[in-house]
Each structure stands twice: as C-alpha cells, then as structure tokens.
C-alpha cells in the first residue's frame, strides 16, 4: 500500500474501534484494510492488538471494567473475522496450537475467553473445549492435536483441584507440552508445585499476560521486518 496516510488512518480506525468498543468501526476498518491491500497481519497487530493493549491499560487504571473489556473483545473479533482469511502464517518457529478450557465442575469462562481471544489474534490454532470440561478430555485433546500449549482455567477451589491430575497426565505422555493455569484460586506456588509452566490469577492478569505474549510476537514481527 503506497499511501502511508491512508494506512495510518485505517490502523487508527481499528485501534480506536477496539478501544471504544465500536464493532461497526472495526468491521469498516478491517474491510478498508482488505480492500486497500493492507497487510492483514499488520492490520491485526498494529490496529486491533494496539487497541487491546490500550484497553488492558485502561482496565488496570480502573477506567474500564469487565463489561467494557468484553465489548472491546467483541469489537476486536468483529475486525478479526474479516482480516483472518487474508492472513499469512507467521513464521515464528512455533507450530502455534493450543488446547484451552475451563475444568470440570466450573462454568466460569470469561478469563478463558479473553485468553483464547489473544491466541486467536496471535494466529494460533485454538482448540476450545469450552467449560465444565472432563479432566481426561484435556489429555485426549492434547494427544490428538499434538498442541504446544494447554491452558486450564478454574474459578473455584473445588474445581481447581483437578488441575494437577491433568498436568501430570499430559506431562507424562508429552513432556514438551507447555501448560498454563489460570483463575482466582491459582498462584505461582501452585503452578510450581504442580509443574505448570505459567499462571494468571484472573481475567485481567490473564489478559495482561496474553497481551504481553502477543506484544512479544508483535515485536518479533517488527524485528523480522527490519531485517528484510
């Protein structure tokens, strides 16, 4: 795309569309990006994700609350759905697939859905098992898909206790698979004790961690582009 000003305008529209949870603006911006021949990955990372980064900041500053976050996420998806088919696979040395779900006995999945969104954005193949997922299903799904990452979420202590069993089973069969746990009752100590590779205690932290991860990918992209 030759016209830099136009490109900037579209990226700005996508970014603000996410921040102001304006689905129509995101759809419009995404369509303009596609029609104008803008690189879809660039539109996602420098438009939609840039917006989500700001949303994360607003949430931390207690300017935004859960409803706003969810509406921002819906706006992001509205744009992502249009851009996704035009994306080229990013070569980051990762296969990039993840199994994610809320464990058996738990139906709270707001945090899980936010993390899932950032994986979607990052171009991962996401196998979402949903909520109240039987423990063995995580193990089976990991084996079936050979995914790099498994994310387990639980909001309640009573459902969290199923986590170490899943971790143990997956690690026994596939030691290279990374496992992240999340939800209010989890902690770094528990993650360490159970052999999980990462943790996030609530939706905001999960979002923060996921944004960090995707921001890192964004940086990798930039570095790669700079080398060219």
């Amino acid at each position: 795309m030759a016209d830099d000003a136009r490109k900037k305008e579209i990226l700005e529209k996508l970014k603000n569309g996410v921040i102001q949870y304006d689905e129509d603006a995101c759809k419009e911006g995404a369509q303009e990006a596609v029609d104008g021949g803008l690189d879809a990955n660039e539109a996602i990372f420098d438009g939609l994700v840039a917006g989500m980064e700001e949303v994360g900041r607003l949430f931390e500053a207690q300017e935004y609350f859960v409803p706003e976050i969810l509406m921002c996420a819906d706006a992001l998806y509205a744009g992502l759905d249009i851009l996704k088919p035009h994306c080229q696979q990013m070569d980051l040395g990762l296969k990039g697939s993840v199994v994610i779900g809320t464990v058996e006995g738990d139906v709270h999945d707001i945090g899980k859905n936010l993390v899932k969104m950032m994986f979607d954005v990052a171009g991962f193949t996401v196998y979402d098992l949903g909520r109240d997922v039987p423990l063995d299903q995580f193990v089976e799904e990991q084996l079936r898909t050979d995914s790099d990452l498994v994310c387990l979420s639980a909001m309640m202590t009573t459902s969290m206790i199923g986590m170490p069993k899943i971790i143990e089973k997956i690690k026994a069969k596939n030691p290279n698979c990374m496992i992240m746990i999340g939800g209010a009752p989890t902690s770094k100590e528990l993650a360490d004790k159970w052999g999980a590779d990462g943790y996030a205690e609530d939706a905001s932290n999960a979002l923060k961690e996921a944004i960090k991860m995707v921001s890192f990918l964004r940086k990798l992209r930039e570095e790669k582009a700079a080398k060219k």
């Binding site: 300017e63 609350f65 859960v66 409803p67 819906d74 936010l114």
Partner: protein, 223 residues
C-alpha cells in the same frame, strides 16, 4: 473520564426520551438501579427501560435493537458508557458480552423507572399496555435524573390469571420490591404445559396470563 474528579450532577433525559419515542418506542423510562446490581456492572447504575407494544404490526425485536443502538450512540456522543442488554428473544450467544446479559433483568429497569410492576403472572404489567410489551434495557453511567420507581404490585384483588392458568402455576401472591424471594409463578408447572400441548414448542408459556389480564386487554384496544 475520571468520575471522581467531576461533581456528579444529574441531568434530564427528556430529549433522549423524545428521540426514542419518535423512533418508535412505546415507552421509555429511566430507573435508578443502584440497588441490586452485581459487582461487574456497579458503575452502570442507570437503566434506560425501552418497551415496544407487541400489538404494533412491526418486527418488535429489530425495532428494540435499533432503539438500543440509538440510545447507546446518544450516550457515547456525550461521553457516557453504556451496555445494551438486548431483548430476551435476541441474545446472540457467541458474543463475549453475552456472558453478562443474565446479570440484569429487564424487569428491574422497568419497575425502577416506574413503567410497570411485576404482576401476579410474574410479568411486567404497565398500566396502559399490560403485559403485552417487549422490553430491552440500556445500562449507563450517565447521571440521568431517574423516574419515580414502582415498588408495589398494582394488581389489587384481581385473580384472573390465577384462575385461568391451565397448569395452576400462578400462586396469586402480590409482588413487592422489598420481598424479592417471593415465588409468584411456579415455572416448572408453567413449563409442564409443553408436554400436554406439544404445539407450544418454542416457548414454555401459553400466554393466557397475558391475554386474560385486564391491563393487557386495555393495551390491545389501544394498539
């Protein structure tokens, strides 16, 4: 946007109400819904209740959704936040925000804005239109002057819906905001009708408690 920095001064939403009425709303009210909001949405303590008379010959749900969008835009232009809770029959569940819809009931906004009370039939009854209205709510943090709430049932001694319910599901008790746990309708009994009369496939209700209500019949004439 910092709320603490600005002194909260309420303002009248007369112009918004007029706009929505022009666009096809049958009723518009603003309720102070501070009490009883769940933690996730405590900052959105005004509920704009929107109602459309179902006897109007139009696609009610589409109209309600359009009205909500108008209200959201109006509020956004003035720097306020909002969360549109769609009509019950139009919940797109693949949206992330849909997780929060169940946190708020349209009945709360309707009673808090004085547009109706909860009848013996468990449904919102408006003085003019009875239970024949479809509802949607826009929650917002805009400090709009609230309308006067209704906190007690206005059904009086009328027991038509109790007598005519084919499943005997209506208990006949009167609603009061102070007694939220009172069980007005036995919904299992209400749903059981589906088994007896399979043609009521989609909704659990036969609607007799709506049509029999004197207030609803009143509304029908007006439509």
């Amino acid at each position: 946007m910092g709320k603490a920095a600005v002194a909260v001064r309420t303002f009248s939403a007369a112009s918004l109400k007029e706009l929505l009425a022009r666009e096809g709303a049958t009723l518009v009210g603003v309720g102070d819904i501070t009490e009883g909001l769940s933690r996730e949405i405590t900052h959105l303590n005004r509920g704009i209740a929107l109602a459309v008379n179902r006897s109007l010959n139009r696609d009610t749900v589409d109209l309600l959704v359009r009205l909500e969008r108008i209200a959201v835009k109006w509020l956004k232009e003035r720097g306020f936040r909002s969360l549109a809770i769609p009509p019950d029959s139009d919940r797109i569940n693949d949206k992330l925000i849909a997780k929060l819809y169940h946190l708020f009931s349209h009945k709360t906004a309707a009673t808090c804005s004085g547009l109706g009370w909860i009848g013996k039939n468990g449904l919102i009854i408006n003085e003019t239109y009875g239970s024949k209205l479809s509802w949607a709510t826009v929650l917002t943090d805009a400090p709009i002057e609230p309308d006067r709430p209704l906190t007690e049932s206005q059904c009086g001694d009328c027991t038509l819906c109790v007598k005519h319910c084919p499943s005997g599901a209506v208990s006949g008790q009167s609603w009061s905001r102070g007694e939220p746990l009172k069980r007005l309708v036995n919904y299992e009994k209400c749903r059981s009708l589906k088994k007896v009369r399979p043609r009521f496939e989609e909704k659990p209700n036969c609607g007799l408690c709506i049509t029999i209500c004197p207030f609803s019949r009143n509304g029908h004439k007006q439509g």
